[in-house]
């Protein structure tokens, strides 16, 4: 297995931004999906569950982004290539 190429120091922050943005997008999309399903199933297709789901997802992504910038990798699974 080839060694993972070390990221150059000036690219560290860019990598973190990549992870944070993608994570936030995924969580927001998940919240949107849950909101849609919940709206359809339980709330007669009203809009607020969708917004609520998006809010939960985005908030979750933001919180994890904070953790990532502070040195941890909370909520993010790094898969070795």
């Amino acid at each position: 297995m080839s060694a993972v190429k070390k990221t150059a120091s000036e690219q560290l922050l860019n990598d973190k931004w990549d992870v944070v943005i993608s994570n936030t997008l995924v969580k927001t999309a998940l919240g949107f999906g849950f909101g849609v399903v919940t709206s359809v199933l339980f709330f007669k297709r009203r809009a607020f569950p969708v917004w609520l789901g998006i809010g939960f997802g985005a908030g979750r992504g933001y919180a994890e982004g904070d953790a990532i910038f502070r040195g941890g990798d909370a909520g993010v699974r790094i898969v070795n290539p």
Partner: protein, 594 residues
């Protein structure tokens, strides 16, 4: 049991009877239904299978005829078959048992292992085998255990042997007969056999004629004493009581005849005279026999004497032979012993000779060694004397030569040092060239060369050891560092306002607000990020890499973290430059030193 069996057989017979009746009736019915068999040729006949068994029975035509008559008479019953199963069973069991037991007994007598198995596990097997064995034993030894011993004399008496508590000659003198000694009753009527037997006399070479046993030794003398009235017959000197009795009876007869008057004294005298003649003849006969006997005895004595002499001669001859043999043996043995001792003596003499000659040789060798040693000492002494006197000047020559050699070595060393200095200068020049080259040059061979030339110089060794291993592949040139710094600066500027432990908002804010910051140039004062960056950039433009590194190193937080790689490269270049300067100074020192 038998009753139950017979009852069962009777029941079976009855069932068979009923079954045969049913069968016959069904056959009859089928025959009735099959009268017009051609009426429906196409349809299959359901009773056709029933027809098959009927032709097998010979009574079918009768049955069909009777069936056609309407009243089926009872068929003639087959005689009840007696199977005799029980009898066969009994017979077979008996035969099998006999075979098994007989074979088992025979094999048990033949094989010991099977004997053990048979007697142990087969019921009654042990008794059977014992009976057979007992009979066999009786057949072989019919009188075993009953026959008494036939003869007392044939018994073997075991002598008492070994140590005993008794004193010598203190044998038991008690009764030697009785039930405690022998269980066999002693027959009192049997005359005691003679225990002591004389040695049988040697057989007479000449069979002697049967000699009548002489009744008495003295010759009979008849003395007739004629009494005035009565003649009396007298046997003089007889000791034989029978003869005395005869004489007495004759005299008594004479007396009786005389007293009865049947015979007169003359007749009696004549009778006495004839009796005297007869007695004289008898005496003469006895004397004759005695003489013959004596002759025979003399002859036998002569024969015995001859034999005795012959035996004596034989004995002497045998004695002489044995004596000769012993003498020969004695001489033979003496000669053998003498030979043995002679051989031993020779061997010992030889050994002693060897030992003695060996000792002599050793002594001679020791004397030789002593002589050689003395000779060697003398030679050494002579040589030493010569050396001290004539060859002492050689020592001076040697000293002078050693001085010249030291001088030569010194010169060589000087030359070598000068050469090494020149090589060091060359290597240092190549190092400086490599650092000033417009591209990255590998430093490993140059460093190795410097180390080799430097040898034991501690400063050079320490400087070479201090070169970072990462720099062996080369260091970045100042131009390369400046280009890389230009790439680094916008990244650092993005995070210039990030507080410590910032989150997403902090980074976004820093990015946004850093756009509003006033960019500085030249060498402004201040510790803010823009000032530091401006100073570093100007230092790089001037070619002062160490200054730029120092400035960038003063950053903190995410700024320094982003600049880590550039810092490492810059430090590497700075270190190598510094070490190159140190080595150059040392090279100058070398030039002045030698």
């Amino acid at each position: 049991m038998l009753r139950i069996m017979s009852a069962r057989v009777a029941a079976q017979q009855q069932q068979r009877l009923v079954a045969s009746r049913l069968l016959h009736s069904s056959v009859a019915r089928s025959n009735v239904t099959n009268v017009p068999p051609t009426s429906v040729p196409g349809t299959p006949n359901p009773t056709a299978p029933m027809e098959n068994p009927t032709p097998a029975t010979p009574s079918t035509p009768n049955l069909s005829s009777s069936a056609s008559s309407g009243t089926p008479p009872p068929p003639p019953l087959p005689p009840p078959k007696t199977t005799n199963r029980f009898r066969k069973f009994l017979l077979s069991v008996t035969v099998l048992g006999a075979i098994v037991y007989g074979g088992g007994v025979w094999f048990a007598l033949w094989n010991d292992n099977f004997h053990d198995f048979y007697t142990e596990y087969v019921p009654f097997g042990e008794q059977l085998v014992m009976i057979i064995e007992e009979r066999e034993f009786q057949r072989r030894f019919p009188n075993a255990g009953r026959k008494p011993l036939e003869d007392d004399a044939k018994r073997v008496t075991v002598q008492r042997g070994g140590a005993t508590w008794k004193m010598v000659g203190d044998e038991y003198k008690g009764p030697s007969t009785g039930p405690h000694v022998s269980a066999v009753a002693k027959d009192k009527n049997v005359p005691k056999t003679e225990t002591k037997k004389d040695v049988p006399p040697p057989p007479a070479p000449v069979p002697a004629p049967p000699v009548p046993e002489p009744k008495k030794q003295e010759p009979l003398v008849i003395r007739e004493t004629v009494l005035p009235k009565l003649p009396k017959f007298v046997f003089d000197g007889t000791t034989d009581p029978s003869l005395e009795n005869v004489v007495k009876s004759i005299n008594g007869l004479f007396t009786a005849l005389t007293t009865s008057g049947a015979a007169g004294p003359e007749e009696l005298s004549a009778l006495a005279a004839s009796l005297g003649e007869v007695s004289n003849k008898f005496v003469a006969l006895v004397a004759k026999y005695e003489t013959e006997l004596k002759e025979n005895l003399d002859q036998q004595a002569l024969v015995f004497a001859l034999q005795n002499e012959k035996r004596e001669q034989d004995y002497k001859q045998q004695l002489a032979t044995v004596d000769e043999k012993w003498r020969e043996g004695y001489f033979e043995e003496r000669r053998r012993i003498m030979d043995t001792y002679k051989k031993r003596l020779i061997a010992e003499l030889k050994k002693f000779n060897q030992v003695y000659s060996g000792r002599l040789r050793n002594e001679v060798a020791a004397a030789n060694a002593e002589k050689d040693k003395l000779f060697a000492d003398k030679v050494v002494e002579t040589v030493e004397n010569e050396r001290n006197s004539r060859l002492s000047k050689l020592k001076d020559l040697k000293l002078a030569f050693e001085e010249v050699m030291a001088l030569s070595a010194d010169v060589d060393k000087q030359l070598e040092t000068a050469e090494r200095t020149a090589e060091l200068q060359l290597a240092l020049g190549s190092l400086t060239n490599a650092l000033q080259a417009p591209y990255s040059v590998p430093l490993a061979p140059i460093v190795a060369r410097i180390k080799e030339v430097g040898g034991d110089d501690p400063l050079i060794s320490a400087a070479v050891a201090a070169v970072p291993v990462a720099a062996y592949d080369g260091v970045l040139t100042p131009a390369q560092l400046a280009a890389r710094f230009k790439l680094l600066v916008p990244e650092i500027r993005k995070v210039s306002l990030v507080p410590a432990d910032a989150g997403v908002a902090g980074f976004v804010g820093s990015w946004l607000f850093s756009k509003l910051l006033w960019k500085k140039e030249g060498k402004p004062k201040g510790t803010d990020v823009e000032s530091v960056l401006a100073r570093a950039e100007s230092a790089l433009v001037e070619g002062q890499v160490d200054e730029a590194v120092r400035e960038v190193n003063s950053l903190d937080g995410w700024r320094k973290k982003l600049a880590e790689d550039w810092l490492a490269e810059g430090r590497k270049r700075t270190e190598v430059e510094f070490l190159a300067r140190v080595l150059g100074e040392e090279g100058k020192v070398w030039q002045y030193k030698y």
